[in-house]
Structure formats: structure tokens, C-alpha cells
């Protein structure tokens, strides 16, 4: 499965994502500069974390207008797999590829810590290795991760099973105390209705080896490979 990691001015998790895909999962991966206008030949595009454009105006707002984003949108509309992590999630929201927006953390602190996540939907290309209700541990590091949607859109997200991860306790309980940033409904990650674009605030690429303190991020990324092994075969048989 061929991955493209998009590098915006101010991205700072691009090398971690690259390392996780290439060294840990052994997949072909390239960096794609934000000024590029083509994303041909890739099976999955990843928008990594960081502070694109210095978070000017709003996090992700200016990166969402980058030249490459036109190609990313076309790729996504054709059903291509797109993953936004942290600032990458903020960019997907600002670009209108996912619903909602980010507010400053309710606590007004930059939160850099491990969190527990409950898998709410395991029927996505990103979560096939998990059970529904399984509790994962991943690091977060952000100032604007307080996810907001209006009540009507929230209902729609629930109805369409688009909430993929929620902040929880170690035991998997959804409580206000387990919510590090004030997100509506403890939401940590969502997927679009079609099921090919996912955004999450936690950093899977920072937990891909025991040395890093955990491997839940590796299983998250490896789920994509499982999905691709089936879906890729289906695609090639369709084209015959």
C-alpha cells in the first residue's frame, strides 16, 4: 500500500509518520510537498500533525487552501483513503472534508499526555484490528482539540456511526474527567459518511513500538494494510 505524507510549512510530525509507515510497517511512502498539485499513484494520503502556517487565523485554515488540497479533495471524492492526525484533522475540518470545527481546549492548557480511547466503530478501514468498545492508549499534544458541532450535526454523526474514537477512562467509561479538551460528547476522532476520510486528535504514529510506550498506533495503521489487502484485490478484480 503506497502512502503519501503531506508536508505543509510548519508540519512537525511528518517524519514520525514516515518512520512508522516505512520502518515499522515496511510500506512504500513518500513525502508530498504542500505546493504539489498531483497525488497520483498513492493509495492513502496522510496529513500529519504540527503547526501548519503557524496556526495563523485558525489552526488548519490556511493549510486548507494549499495547492495540494485541491488534489487531496479530488482524491478523497474518488474514495481515496485520507487520514488527518491532530493538525491534519484540523486541516480536514477547515477544508470541509469532515464536519465540525475545533475550539481552544476548555482548560486553556496545551495538553500533552497519554489518553484512553474507546473504539466506537470498528467497521472502518482504520479500525479493523480492534473490537468495538476496545480501549486504546495514545498520546495527544494539542491546544485546539476541543471538537465542536451543532446538536443537529452531532445527531447525524451518531446516527451514521461516524464517531470512531471517544476519550474514556482506562476502564472504557465516557466521563467528563476523561475528556482532556472539552470536546462535544468526548469525541476524539470521526469519519466521513462515505467512510474513507478519518480525522483524530491523538497521535497513532507516536505509539508504534514498545520503546515508545505502546503499540496501539501500529495496530491502527496496520488495520489499513488489512483493509487494503481485501479492498485492493477487489479493486483489481473489478478492473479485469
Amino acid at each position: 500500500m503506497r502512502f503519501g505524507v503531506i508536508v505543509f510549512p510548519g508540519s512537525n510530525c511528518d517524519q514520525d509518520v514516515y518512520y512508522a509507515l516505512k520502518e515499522v510497517l515496511g510500506q512504500p511512502v513518500d513525502y508530498l510537498w504542500y505546493a504539489e498539485t498531483r497525488v497520483d499513484g498513492y493509495d492513502c494520503l496522510i496529513l500529519p500533525g504540527g503547526f501548519s502556517y503557524g496556526d495563523y487565523l485558525r489552526p488548519g485554515a490556511l493549510a486548507g487552501l494549499s495547492p495540494i488540497m485541491t488534489a487531496v479533495k479530488e482524491f478523497a471524492l474518488r474514495g481515496g483513503i485520507v487520514l488527518g492526525i491532530c493538525n491534519g484533522f484540523q486541516i480536514l475540518l477547515e477544508a470541509g472534508l469532515l464536519p465540525g470545527a475545533m475550539l481552544r481546549n476548555r482548560c486553556l492548557q496545551f495538553r500533552c499526555q497519554d489518553v484512553y480511547l474507546r473504539v466506537e466503530n470498528n467497521r472502518t478501514p482504520f479500525t479493523g484490528r480492534f473490537a468495538r468498545g476496545q480501549v486504546l492508549r495514545m498520546p495527544i499534544a494539542h491546544n485546539e482539540g476541543n471538537y465542536y458541532v451543532d446538536p443537529a450535526t452531532l445527531e447525524r454523526l451518531k446516527e451514521k456511526n461516524q464517531i470512531v474514537f471517544r476519550y474514556c477512562t482506562r476502564e472504557g467509561k465516557i466521563t467528563p474527567e476523561a475528556n482532556p479538551n472539552g470536546s462535544v460528547d468526548n469525541i476524539a476522532g470521526i469519519i466521513n459518511e462515505e467512510g474513507n476520510i478519518l480525522g483524530l486528535m491523538p497521535h497513532p504514529e507516536r505509539c508504534v513500538e514498545e520503546l515508545l510506550g505502546g503499540t496501539d498506533g501500529r495496530e491502527f495503521l496496520a488495520s489499513l494494510l488489512d483493509w487494503w489487502a481485501v479492498q485492493g484485490l477487489r479493486r483489481s478484480s473489478n478492473s479485469c
Partner: protein, 100 residues
Amino acid sequence: MSEFYLVRVHVTLKKGVMDPQGEAVKQGLLTLGYQGVKEVRVGKYLEVALEAPDEEEARRQVEEMCRRLLANPVLEDFSVDIHAAQRHQEEHENTSAYSI
């Protein structure tokens, strides 16, 4: 003939959207002894200098800018005040060349 306009844009959080910064600033004001303070909402102020054929077109463009970039319609409302402006020679680099 084109004219210059200086447009003052205020971007504010929609009613009902939590404002953690505003809440913290309110607590600060209460600490300073301003016991009458009931609510503080933090927003953004932008100045856009632009050239347009007339005020109506300037307004149309800036309102569109607000919807497309300057404000996030999920969270924020905006208001614009348009003023005819003059362009003048800037004395220093990085100093605005437009004034009302």
C-alpha cells in the same frame, strides 16, 4: 473608476458556543475587583484594505471572504464596517499605507 476601502471585520463566536478564553478573561476581571462583569467573549478584529469599483462591491467581496476564510461558519459570526480610504506614501516599511 476604482476606489480604496478600509474594511473593519469583527469575528465573534456564535451564541451558544463555549468560549474558554472569554471565561478565563472574565475570571481575571473578577479577580481585579470588577464584580459587575457577567460575561466576556473573545473575538478577532481584522482590517482589510481593498480596491473595488464601489462600496457595494467592496461589501460583497469582504462578506464572501468572511464566509470562505476569515470566519469559520461552524463556530463564528462576522460583521463588516466599510469606510472609504485613502492610500498614502508609507513612511516605514510594514506600516499600513491606507487610512480612513
